[in-house]
């Protein structure tokens, strides 16, 4: 089977990789590109652990074919921090201890980043509904919701 050559932009940098036509974007990120921060929880689009942002849209990478990345702009968890400088969401997840085992956390942070990009001032209800596509079995969600709302408040205050 011929492998496909894909050119794309990942976390602000041009990237290229070879993939099989049937390979998922999740597999290409994790195996082809070594970006293992994006996690696999179900491969049926139900758990949100593999959340990435493609052309500004939040998607589960397990339901996107790798060849569909051609010409797109993709953001993964690895693209949110730069060096030691954490994304404000990461900082607030840290402060609130909004994680335990951590396997769902990259997906939650990417999903929350997409939320705050779309809606800098979400209500608690909007936040809960937006993040209802991400499953966490450890935390009971409360600290995650607090961390996201606190981030939104922090970003608004910093912008003033």
């Amino acid at each position: 089977m011929a492998r496909l050559h894909i050119e794309t932009t990942i976390n602000g940098e041009p990237a290229e990789f070879l993939c099989d036509p049937h390979e998922t974007l999740l597999s290409a990120l994790r195996n082809g590109l070594g970006l293992t921060g994006t996690k696999e929880g179900c491969s049926t689009g139900d758990c949100g652990a593999c959340s990435v942002i493609v052309d500004g849209r939040l998607v589960p990478a397990c339901l996107v074919l790798a060849p569909e990345a051609q010409g797109r702009t993709i953001t993964t968890i690895e693209g949110l921090s730069s060096g030691d400088a954490l994304h404000p969401l990461q900082q607030k997840f840290l402060e609130h201890a909004a994680l335990q085992c951590g396997v769902c956390t990259p997906g939650f942070i990417v999903a929350a980043a997409a939320l705050l990009d779309a809606k800098p001032n979400p209500t608690e209800e909007e936040t809960r509904f937006w993040l209802a596509g991400n499953l966490c079995r450890c935390t009971g969600y409360d600290k995650i919701i607090r961390a996201v709302l606190d981030t939104a408040a922090h970003i608004r205050e910093s912008a003033v």
Binding site: D46, L99, Q100, L135, C138
Partner: protein
């Protein structure tokens, strides 16, 4: 420490988190080994069938496929999957890693394909042809007990695995004779699927030259695996290294020795290449252990004034088709806390373990204790309603007084310390109980279905005294003051989200008087943490933390001897405070760890007979379990049209003894309550009448989402445990154990005006709606 404020008790940020929030944590599936092969497992679509023939040639012919094996190829080399529970007269089927000539449950592993790419391995199992002859499946444990029932394992001749009976306290027959009334009730604790977000994953690598096998596996118990896998694989434990890297949630599901762990190890040796297997979500639902599945008939002997004289329980536990590590032990744990936090003088507990053609049940989130708590807390409400006694008064009437501890129960255990009145009073205060009762009255007057539920629970933690455990309940730890004055802590427990890299560092930094940043906690690799009994049963801090404390104290004692030598005085004159050694009245000189550590390792000026280095390890053997407790209060409103439950208030007051890090305690409680909300309102593992699993995905098995969780009001009281020097009790399962009955009692309270007296879990909108139409619904 820098500012002399103790780290213990502070809500400190977790040291685990910086790597995890950046996606830099290494879970088993993140490992990349050169030449890695990928395994995919073919599983039975039948609950019970004879295998007539397996044809693998088409699968083997696919380019990239390295091997395809069936049970006939591997079972003789892999030994049997172990069960550690010691129950007299236990009847157990041999549990091979792949099926022999029969399959016994949907998801039973039948064959394995190994390929250079996971997609190819997956394609290969699609090309394996299995000719099955379906047989009658046993899916209902109560039916399985009847004579003439189909048999789960026909060669065993019966479906009963064991019968376990406990008679405790005073004479149970006399209690029932003396009763004014006997209240009977049947309760069903449904089957649950643990569903960690990271499924199981294994990477096995064999070094032919050294003869060593390294197994990275998503497990809670690397040390128990190192003890138990040699019997399966024939490799001595000295040649076996088990690593639990980051583990993405356990909840008991990864407290096990699984066939796939031995199988991958065998494949790596046989194929001379590293082999990875990662479970799909459907496999996780079908072939990773389930929890609960107990049905019980309970009888309470009461006096009309509310005094409870005795409790009889006859329980049937659905074990599934095989015994996993602790399958038969879990239902017997229920008998240890049957009386909850109440003085009930006589008990009789009988549990029958039954085989069915389903996945094995085993330890899930609380393991036996949620069953006990749910039943006693439902029964307290049932008794209160029947006798027209206030449910809080009934509970208070049966609480031991704080001065009664240590309190020996009729179940044969001794509760270490407690103040049940204290958590109840605080929970009432936080819930604003009188206002809540007024709200209920007003809501009901307005035609709303508004209910308030209470549970007061006690649980068994800090597992445990070795004489009461299947395989040693002690814990090991090691503390090393390095030459650089940094501190390495090695623990035999295997935290996987609980946060002991942080809390153990807090404990050690305080005791040694060093900055917490200088302390590193290592765990989860049997070549690093040489010995241990791992993480389950809320034992990490109470048992593992104590082994660390003992080691720190040995290091300080040794350091004092060296300091005395440097001060040219005796050990007794040396004082250690805030990270400094002093000899008041002898010299004004102070010695810091940096100087002392350098002396200890450079070893040019040591006292006679003094071993170089500053390291100590310890085994801690607990003398008793610990018994955390608490009160949960829940208010709900049920939608009259849809049966949907909205939790409008949730108050939890938990007492886990001293708290090392309140942020971690809060997280454990919140996460536990979420599991309980799932169990009370949504979750149930369902097999149909043919033994087909209907809840094999997140779309079918409803774990709570962010929208399902209410705002919590959390409080705590502190009653230190006397059984360990930290005074901690453990908090892993408090939320799950305390919350399920509180929510259930609240929903039933809400439906009381309609005449509904009981509903089985989960209280889904459909089930509630039906109950509103028919007044009561029994599911079993």
């Amino acid at each position: 420490m820098s500012d002399a404020t103790p780290y213990i008790g502070r809500a400190m940020k977790r040291v685990e988190d910086p790597r995890l929030i950046q996606g830099l944590g290494t879970y088993t599936d993140d490992l990349r080994l050169a030449g890695l092969l990928h395994a995919c497992i073919l599983r039975s679509p039948h609950a019970h069938a004879r295998i007539r023939r397996i044809e693998t040639s088409a699968a083997k012919a696919i380019p990239g496929v390295v091997a395809v094996f069936t049970g006939a190829d591997v079972n003789d080399s892999c030994g049997a999957v172990p069960c550690a529970a010691a129950i007299p007269d236990l009847k157990a089927p041999r549990h091979t890693v792949l099926a022999g000539d029969r399959v016994y449950f949907v998801g039973h592993a039948v064959a394995v394909a190994v390929a250079t790419d996971p997609y190819i391995a997956c394609d290969a199992i699609d090309e394996i042809e299995v000719d099955y002859d379906p047989l009658p499946a046993v899916v209902n444990a109560m039916e399985a007990l009847k004579s003439g029932s189909a048999l789960t394992h026909p060669d065993m001749g019966a479906n009963v695995a064991f019968t376990h009976v406990v008679n405790g306290g005073s004479d149970i027959d006399a209690a029932f004779r003396n009763a004014d009334r006997i209240i009977k009730h049947r309760l069903y604790h449904q089957r649950l699927t643990p569903m960690p977000i990271e499924p199981r994953a294994v990477v096995a690598s064999y070094h032919r030259g050294e003869g060593t096998l390294t197994l990275w596996t998503s497990t809670q118990i690397p040390h128990l695996l190192r003890t138990l896998l040699p019997n399966m694989l024939g490799i001595p434990e000295t040649k076996l290294r088990i690593v639990a890297p980051e583990v993405g949630g356990g909840f008991g599901a990864k407290l096990n020795v699984y066939a796939e762990e031995a199988l991958c190890a065998h494949l790596a040796m046989r194929l001379s290449a590293p082999v990875k297997w990662v479970e799909s979500r459907r496999e996780n639902a079908a072939s990773t252990i389930h929890g609960r599945d107990q049905i019980g008939d309970y009888e309470v002997a009461v006096k009309n004034d509310g005094r409870i004289l005795g409790l009889k329980a006859t329980s049937v536990a659905d074990l599934g088709a095989y015994l996993q590590l602790l399958t038969p032990a879990v239902p017997t744990l229920t008998g240890l806390v049957l009386t909850g936090c109440y003085k009930i003088p006589a008990i009789r507990f009988e549990v029958v373990g039954v085989y069915t053609n389903k996945m094995a049940t085993d330890a899930y989130r609380g393991a036996g204790r949620p069953e006990a708590t749910y039943l006693i807390e439902r029964l307290m409400d049932v008794v209160a309603n029947e006798l027209k006694i206030d449910r809080l008064d009934l509970r208070l009437k049966h609480f031991p007084a704080p001065g009664d501890f240590p309190f020996a129960t009729s179940c044969g255990v001794t509760y270490d310390s407690g103040n049940y009145q204290g958590t109840l009073a605080k929970a009432k205060q936080l819930a604003d109980w009188d206002a809540l009762m007024a709200d209920r009255k007003a809501a009901r007057a307005a035609g709303k279905l508004f209910g308030v539920g209470v549970s007061t629970y006690v649980e068994i933690c800090a597992m445990g005294p070795s004489k009461a455990m299947p395989a040693g309940g002690w814990e090991w730890g090691c503390v090393r003051m390095e030459i650089s004055a940094k501190v390495t802590v090695i623990t035999g427990v295997t935290p996987h989200g609980q946060g002991q890299e942080t809390s153990f560092a807090q404990i050690v930094a305080d005791r040694l008087g060093v900055p917490i940043e200088d302390v590193a906690v290592l765990k989860g690799d049997t070549n690093v943490a040489h010995y241990g009994r791992d993480t389950y049963g809320s034992r990490g801090t109470a048992v593992g933390g104590t082994a660390i404390v003992m080691s720190v104290d040995k290091v300080i004692k040794k350091a004092k001897t060296l300091a005395a030598h440097l001060f040219e005085t005796l050990d007794d004159y040396v004082v250690f405070e805030n990270g400094k050694f002093k000899a008041p009245g002898i010299t004004a000189r102070e010695i810091a760890w940096s100087e002392l550590a350098a002396e200890a390792y450079l070893a040019k000026n040591l006292p006679a007979g003094f071993e170089p280095g500053l390291e100590a390890s310890s085994f801690f053997e607990p003398e008793n379990f610990t018994f955390p407790f608490g009160t949960h209060i829940c208010a709900v409103e049920v939608d009259r049209d849809t049966g949907e439950v909205a939790i409008t208030k949730y108050v939890a007051v938990d007492d886990c003894g001293n708290q090392i890090n309140p942020l971690l305690v809060e997280g454990q409680v919140q996460g536990g309550i979420a599991h309980a909300i799932g169990q009370a309102l949504f979750e149930q593992t369902i097999y149909d009448e043919n033994g087909q699993l209907l809840t094999g995905e997140f779309m079918d098995y409803a774990i709570p989402r962010a929208t399902d969780i209410p705002e919590y009001t959390l409080g705590s009281t502190v009653t230190p445990s006397p059984v360990n020097p930290l005074g901690v009790k453990g908090v892993g399962e408090a939320g799950t154990i305390g919350a399920t009955p509180a929510i259930a009692n609240a929903v039933i309270d809400a439906l009381t005006p309609l005449g509904v007296v009981h509903l089985d879990l989960p209280m889904t909108p459909e089930r509630i709606w039906r109950a509103m139409q028919t007044r009561t619904v029994a599911t079993v």
